[in-house]
Symmetry: C2
Subunit: 566 residues, 2 copies
Amino acid sequence: MGRNTSTTSENTALIEAVTCGPIHSSSKSYLEVPAEGSTLSVPVRRISLTNDTTFDVYDTSGPYTGYADAGECHDLASGLPPTRDGWAHPEAVPASPEDPTPVRTQLAWARAGHITPEMRFIAAREGIDVEVVRTEVAAGRAVIPANHRHPESEPMIIGKRFLTKINANIGNSAVTSSIAEEVEKMVWASRWGADTIMDLSTGRDIHETREWIMRNSPVPVGTVPIYQALEKVGGDPTALTWELYRDTVIEQCEQGVDYMTVHAGVLLRYVPLAAKRVTGIVSRGGSIMAAWCLAHHRESFLYTHFTELCEILARYDVTFSLGDGLRPGSIADANDEAQFAELRTLGELTRIAKRHGVQVMIEGPGHVPMHMIVENVRLEEEWCEEAPFYTLGPLATDIAPGYDHITSAIGAARIAEAGTAMLCYVTPKEHLGLPDRDDVKTGVITYKIAAHSADLAKGHPGAQARDDALSTARFEFRWRDQFALALDPDTALAYHDATLPAEPAKTAHFCSMCGPRFCSMRISQDIRDYAAQHGMDTVEAIEAGMAEKSAEFTGQGSRVYLPITE
Amino acid sequence: MGRNTSTTSENTALIEAVTCGPIHSSSKSYLEVPAEGSTLSVPVRRISLTNDTTFDVYDTSGPYTGYADAGECHDLASGLPPTRDGWAHPEAVPASPEDPTPVRTQLAWARAGHITPEMRFIAAREGIDVEVVRTEVAAGRAVIPANHRHPESEPMIIGKRFLTKINANIGNSAVTSSIAEEVEKMVWASRWGADTIMDLSTGRDIHETREWIMRNSPVPVGTVPIYQALEKVGGDPTALTWELYRDTVIEQCEQGVDYMTVHAGVLLRYVPLAAKRVTGIVSRGGSIMAAWCLAHHRESFLYTHFTELCEILARYDVTFSLGDGLRPGSIADANDEAQFAELRTLGELTRIAKRHGVQVMIEGPGHVPMHMIVENVRLEEEWCEEAPFYTLGPLATDIAPGYDHITSAIGAARIAEAGTAMLCYVTPKEHLGLPDRDDVKTGVITYKIAAHSADLAKGHPGAQARDDALSTARFEFRWRDQFALALDPDTALAYHDATLPAEPAKTAHFCSMCGPRFCSMRISQDIRDYAAQHGMDTVEAIEAGMAEKSAEFTGQGSRVYLPITE
């Protein structure tokens, strides 16, 4: 971004490209949470309903939805205010019981019994006791990806005891995309609910693109440093070195990247296992490291230098996302020897990272048929000390390119129910092309569905409240509230209007499915009204078996079938 | 349709509205299967691949995909040829061990040990032994919806031992739609994989619309007769009578309807249970019968006359689809007392129907959170003698109107894995409006994904072959074959072209995700090629640890990074 180098006209063009303004029927609101030395402002999206109540939902969208329009947007060249810089953090503490090196990471602080401002922020955001936050982080079952050098971020947590999170991948490639597009994708993805974004840029201007994203992102940002390292050596993986990679990691740590995918589990001896597969190695990072190992016939420098890497990440509190370079790329390759060999190694690396006080999550597949999904969670938990699992789908079948947001949402919901803490979205363009703006939104909404379905299934406290609010609105024919409470109000409204565009249809006591003459919801209400009017419990009203009551209902019921005049 | 009354110009307009012609890269083919007295032509769609092989897939599309274009379409006013009329069927046999009345139903024939032409057709279609077909039908665990008076249909089977089936709802309503649109929706839905369609028309011209659909439908057609009965009494459910309903059922049996939804389990005493719910009664048929029961304070005529209904359906071999009038319409109401009270009654009715030799399936929810889905299958199997379960979704959350094809596909895949035999599709317009052509296709493809995911999870023989074929094509950069093998080739191709429209990109050894300079799939292939060239197993090649081999790989590997010139 070069805070001082960008011209005003460039910045103005960029601001205009970014989506600002509130979400349908919603306003930005903040919960004021007291913390040592300051007050934390925890964002919520407040949905206004037509019955004069409001409904608050978890909000990932940052300040952008608090601006009336792009004209109010902050100066993108300066970035968001570095809020977390003003927070009172504890002093450094020993990295772990085995390693006395003083570090300042959420993991080490949690183990030492410290409650950080980030933990308080998260507790308020999740509606959960802060001590639960601390103990889950201390156990390594949850992570708070919050690089000291990304003070613009609003803290969030990834762990199975908390709301299931979703990640959206963005990033330019050699083929297409510009900086403005990528910043807008970040804003756009977090607007619709992305809890983190990963910048997977592989083309030009990687550093510059990331700088603009970092300084303006309200959500944690993840990267795969080997991508940038590869660009630095002209795209030849055999030319990679530990030193070059290390310097790239430090460069990204300095910029504020919150978590990094490191494919340190792709060992030389595992590569042949993948060569026997139907789809070989499908992870870009995995294949880069496989190529390096084969070319040099040496063990991966990510593995041999892993301790050094831990020391670097500990300095910034950057979280490891241990990459699954050997994840299956097809149903045929699911749960195979290559995949699970790597997973065992990731378990070994998890223990090393935690010893250094570094937070860890574990990446997972990929393509897995439904009956083999739960086994992935079981083994990850067993081998990796229940570190948060972060999976890409998985796709439950290979046969629907163009619909892989759906094939993968089926697997994602299932694996999240089983305990996966964060789901990496898949867009409709997966396997076919780069996602555009619409694809990003479709991917995010689809994954919010998968994540929320899992939260319901896990019995997450409070998860069902939104379902109940929406269903009650539906039953009471509060159409506008159905739209407002929907994950995507704009699309719900547009679909309704496609069949019944007239304004009165938004207050009508019917819909286009049955038409005005007969509505099942309405008759249910009439039954209830009938009971209420007669001052008795509905059950008794009917069980009493009074014929005259039936006659009354018949008379009164006629209003159900009158043409609607509203 | 009035075969003799339609004018030529009307018919021509209708033919032009209907989608004819082959699916992308595919041709219509028929397996010739010998049967008593004749040869059965069992349809398959044959996909041509660029490596000079073909791949056959189950084909529901009927003759329409065998026509080069609409100009070749048969005369819709005359309908499809009544193929099954020429088949040699067994004589009548006793309805059941308890009822000696002679009937001609697939259930009674199966029990008597007869193998019908329909069973042979299905065995060839499913690639399964015909004796498995017969025994599953005999046990009531599978149904073959095939009204004697719908001889135009291509027989199919619904049962958990077989491929998971999907249904698409069509039908006009008081608000919108015409006959031509509905015939086209039937052709369009079966083109993309709908195994049956339900005509849920509620507006004008119900009989006429259905006649056009029946005579031209290659797939079984289901209805909800109470909808038409309600139209006959001007929309007032309290004016319904058994006699009027019975005559409507006979009218529809005569037309050839293959299965009928009958909400005979909505008993008077269950209605109050539903009144206590968040969303009351959401089934249209259920609320009609609830209104009738309350108004008359009498038991449902569907229940009190159920035996007579069995006698009528047995004469035509129409299959019962026992409706779940009290299915939950929200997460809050899932698996409640009302729902399960009705399910127990459906079990009682199942036994009565089977005694009369009538085939039965059971309809299921609706809206159910993931952790409560399997219980639905368990109770249905226990109480309804494992009659095929036929569910609507279920939706795993209520909060995403506009995306309910996805919320429900998550539930559908799960419930099908647990044993549901047929899934009723849900389109993106559910809860909001009537589906258009695009919505119907999206709904069908989404449900093919759910059904196929379940078939993979159940280990259905042969299900994985298509995944493997597509993944192999993907690994070998046979882009055209990926499109051809996809559930929706047109969309896959369009999405690919959105990023890389140039013709050479369809044979390029890279895609838009990583760009031409580095491709993970390609390096996997290079590893494999390297091993092959050196005349040794890949594993040994690497484990041998020969440094010179590494050097060779490095040299050869450089071609991975050359700009693609193809």
